[in-house]
C-alpha cells in the first residue's frame, strides 16, 4: 500500500507504509509548520493522504 500527500504548502510526501507516512508528515510539520506540531492526530494524517 503506497500513500501520497501534498501538504497545503505544496510539499509532497510519499510513503510505502502508514508508519512511514506518519513519520514523514510529522517531520515536515516539525520543520515547516512548528505551530501545528502535535495538532494532527495519526487518524487525521492517514485520512489526509491519498492511497495510490
Amino acid at each position: 500500500m503506497a500513500f501520497a500527500m501534498t501538504c497545503e504548502c505544496g510539499e509532497v510526501a510519499r510513503a510505502e507504509t502508514e508508519v512511514e507516512l506518519i513519520t514523514s508528515v510529522e517531520r515536515h510539520l516539525a520543520e515547516q509548520h512548528p505551530d501545528l506540531v502535535g495538532r494532527l492526530s495519526r487518524e487525521d494524517i492517514l485520512a489526509m493522504a491519498e492511497m495510490v
Binding site: 500500500m1 497545503e8 512548528p34 491519498e50 492511497m51
Partner: protein, 274 residues
C-alpha cells in the same frame, strides 16, 4: 483492519490491508462503487443506478448489465457488502469512506472555529481540504456526477475558510497558510467577501499592508464593475483600520472578531448552498 474506500481521486478499496479495486469491472464498476459509497446513507433504486451508470446511452439490456455489475461488485467487496434487490445499498457499516471523512472533518472544523478552538480546527479542516482537492468523477458531466462534484466543492470552500481563519488566529508560522487558503477562497469564490477579509488580514498580519489594501481595491472595483455595489460595512471597517496607525494590530483583530461573529450568525440563519 476493516475496509477503507477512497472515491475522491483514484478509486481504491482496501479490505483488511489488501487492495481489491482491481476486481471492479471496467469503467462502470468503479462508477457504481463511487455512487453507492457516496450515497450509502440511503438505498438507491435499480432505475436510479442505471441512470447513473449510463446517463446518455443505455446498453442493450440495462437490467441484466446492472445485475452483472452488482454481482461483480459484491464479489470484490465480499459477502454481505450489498443489500436489497429492488433497492440497493452498500452495507459495510464499519467501512471508512473518504468523502464521509471529509464531510465530517469540515463539520468538526467549523464547530471548533465557532468555539474559538483554533488548533482543534487544523486537522479536520485539512482532512476535508486534502480529500476535496482530489476531486471526484473527473470528466463526467451528467447531472448526478455534477451534483456530487458540487458537494465536494462545498466541502472544499468551507475547509479553506476554516484553515484561513484558524491559521490566522494561530499566527506565527501558519500565517502563510492563512494567506494561501484565503487566496484560494478568493479565486474559487470571487464574490465571497469573507475570503477577501481573511486575505487582507493575513497580509496585514505579515506586515504587508499595501498588498492588503490592494486586495480591498480589487474587490471594490469588481463589485462596482460587475454588480454596481460596494463592499459590506465590515470590510469597509477593516479597510479603514488598515489605513490607521496599527494596521496589523488590535484594530484589525477587533474587526475580525466582529466579522467572524457576523459570519457565524449568517451561517446559522441561512440554508447551506449546494
Amino acid at each position: 483492519m476493516g475496509a477503507r474506500i477512497q472515491i475522491c481521486g483514484r478509486v481504491v478499496v482496501q479490505i483488511d490491508g489488501r487492495r481489491v479495486e482491481a476486481g471492479l469491472p471496467g469503467r462502470q464498476g468503479p462508477l457504481l462503487l463511487v455512487y453507492l459509497a457516496a450515497n450509502r446513507e440511503r438505498t438507491a433504486s435499480r432505475d436510479e443506478l442505471i441512470e447513473a451508470l449510463w446517463p446518455y446511452e443505455l446498453p442493450p439490456r440495462p437490467e441484466s448489465a446492472l445485475s452483472v455489475l452488482l454481482s461483480k461488485l459484491r464479489g470484490t467487496l465480499g459477502p454481505g457488502s450489498l443489500e436489497g434487490r429492488p433497492q440497493v445499498r452498500l452495507t459495510m457499516p464499519d467501512a471508512w469512506v473518504d468523502l464521509e471523512a471529509a464531510a465530517m472533518g469540515v463539520h468538526r472544523a467549523e464547530s471548533a472555529v465557532a468555539l474559538g478552538d483554533w488548533t482543534a480546527a487544523s486537522g479536520p479542516a485539512r482532512v476535508a481540504l486534502h480529500t476535496a482537492n482530489r476531486g471526484i468523477l473527473p470528466g463526467l458531466d451528467d447531472p448526478r456526477s455534477v451534483e456530487l462534484r458540487g458537494r465536494l466543492e462545498d466541502i472544499r470552500l468551507r475547509a479553506l475558510a476554516c484553515i484561513a481563519i484558524s491559521s490566522l488566529r494561530i499566527g506565527g508560522t501558519e500565517l502563510p497558510a492563512a494567506e494561501r487558503s484565503a487566496r484560494s477562497l478568493v479565486t474559487l469564490s470571487p464574490f465571497r467577501e469573507a475570503g477577501y477579509g481573511l486575505l487582507m488580514e493575513a497580509l496585514a498580519a505579515q506586515g504587508n499592508t499595501a498588498e492588503a489594501l490592494r486586495v480591498y481595491d480589487d474587490l471594490r472595483c469588481r463589485l462596482r464593475d460587475e454588480l454596481g455595489t460596494a463592499p459590506g460595512a465590515e470590510l469597509q471597517e477593516l479597510h479603514r483600520l488598515l489605513l490607521g496607525p496599527d494596521p496589523g494590530g488590535a484594530g484589525a483583530h477587533a474587526a475580525r472578531e466582529r466579522r467572524l461573529t457576523n459570519d457565524r450568525e449568517r451561517a446559522s440563519n441561512e440554508p447551506r448552498e449546494r
